[in-house]
């Protein structure tokens, strides 16, 4: 993994009256699907808007494909397909006219793909955007971003308000986009199922702070739940949480092997073990960051 990162954020920070983002340090190499996850108001949209130069950081550097705003704005944006949280100013335009409009800015515009995507989403080309349902509007916005022929997709909750079948199709389209090895997707979501299905990396963004860039599989493999026949005494390495009073007792660990060894040293039997889902991992990471202990 060498070469120019697709996205590089160097210590960027932004203050609003009631919200602070950053400092965020983040580097993303080409070829990966990165999910940005976190509660609403955590800074997901601000981060993505910053990557589109719609918000400027107070400090720090935003670099895409090695270029910076504002000097390289045109060159950068020709390589980026963007689905905003809300599509503004589209209401009076049809899918056909939106395609004609957007295609002018992208040398790599793929009209055939655009028409395929419209058909797949059953979007009538001449119906006005404003007359489409919320879910169909999202799919149209997504089709516009995909058809730009860009190497990078920035998707701000692309499946919000979309029904489960359409969501599945969007996820498939993202996967298909990724089949050309060097493309990159960064998408914000709070649907963990989407993260589980298509992400390579997960970025947790909570209250404007980045809780790391995690390799998804390592995260899922690195946390375990143990049910044990009695509560352990003293410090057990790796233990994130012990639910007391349960029978058997439930222990969450972020270093399963060490925890298991320490438990067996205390002659505590592991009745069952299981995996921790991403929601729960996020909850623990959030609590840990609030307590300010450990990174």
């Amino acid at each position: 993994m060498t070469g120019t990162p697709v996205i590089s954020l160097g210590d960027i920070a932004k203050s609003y009256e009631d919200f602070e983002l950053g400092p965020v340090d983040l580097t993303i190499e080409p070829g990966y699907v990165v999910a940005v996850v976190g509660p609403n108001g955590g800074g997901k949209s601000t981060l993505i808007r910053m990557l589109m130069n719609l918000v400027q950081p107070d400090s720090g550097e935003v670099t895409l494909f090695g270029g910076a705003y504002p000097d390289d704005e045109v060159a950068i944006k020709q390589r980026v397909g963007y689905v905003p949280e809300r599509s503004v100013g589209h209401d009076e335009m049809s899918a056909r006219s939106l395609g004609e409009f957007v295609s002018r800015f992208y040398p790599g515009w793929d009209q055939r793909l655009y028409e395929d995507l419209l058909q797949r989403a059953r979007i009538e080309p001449d119906k006005k955007f404003g007359k489409l349902s919320k879910g169909v509007q999202r799919r149209l916005a997504f089709a516009l971003a995909l058809a730009t022929g860009s190497e990078l997709l920035l998707l701000d909750e692309p499946t919000a308000g979309v029904d489960p079948f359409a969501r599945r199709e969007i996820l498939e389209d993202i996967s298909r986009f990724m089949h050309d090895g060097d493309r990159t997707v960064l998408f914000a979501t709070h649907v963990m199922e989407e993260v589980r299905r298509i992400a390579d990396y997960v970025v947790f963004l909570v209250d404007g702070s980045l809780l790391g860039l995690h390799e998804k599989d390592a995260l899922l493999e690195g946390w375990k739940i143990f049910w044990v026949d009695r509560e352990p005494e003293g410090d057990i390495p790796g233990v994130v949480e012990v639910v007391e009073g349960g029978s058997p007792t439930r222990i969450v660990s972020d270093s399963p092997q060490e925890t298991a060894e320490a438990l067996s040293a205390q002659n505590i039997r592991i009745v069952r073990s299981g995996t921790v889902d991403l929601e729960e991992i996020l909850t623990h990471l959030m609590r840990r960051s609030k307590e300010g202990c450990r990174a």
């Binding site: 990724m178 050309d180 992400a199």
Partner: protein
Amino acid sequence: MSAGQKQVRIPLHLSLDDPQPMYRQIESQLRDFILGGQLKPGTKLPTIRALAGDLSCSVITTRRAYQDLEGEGFIRTRQGMGTLVAEIPEEKMSAYRREAVDGAFREAVRAGRRAGLTEEELRDILEETLQREDTNVHQGGTS
């Protein structure tokens, strides 16, 4: 974004409850299919992205599995051709098969020792098992 050519879908299965990491699970299952002849030399394997999509894991995991298998000589990647099952020399195939059998016997012996059986008793079990299996085969096997 081409339509993509038809590709084999390999029945791999990942479990997070398995103590082995996911890339190891992929490696050992693919190795078994290759050694077992279900995946013949020259068979085109899915790209790391397609495989990751099928298994809902990351490309980091599938890439690691392919790299290890390539290092062991089971598969090879050619620019523009994708990843193919390699031609594996017969002696290597039999060595690997032998290794699997060795491992199974080793496990069986250990299980016997844990159960407190003597060497004599273990030999008896082996004899009995061989005879029983032979009879099974002659009677039409396990179908």
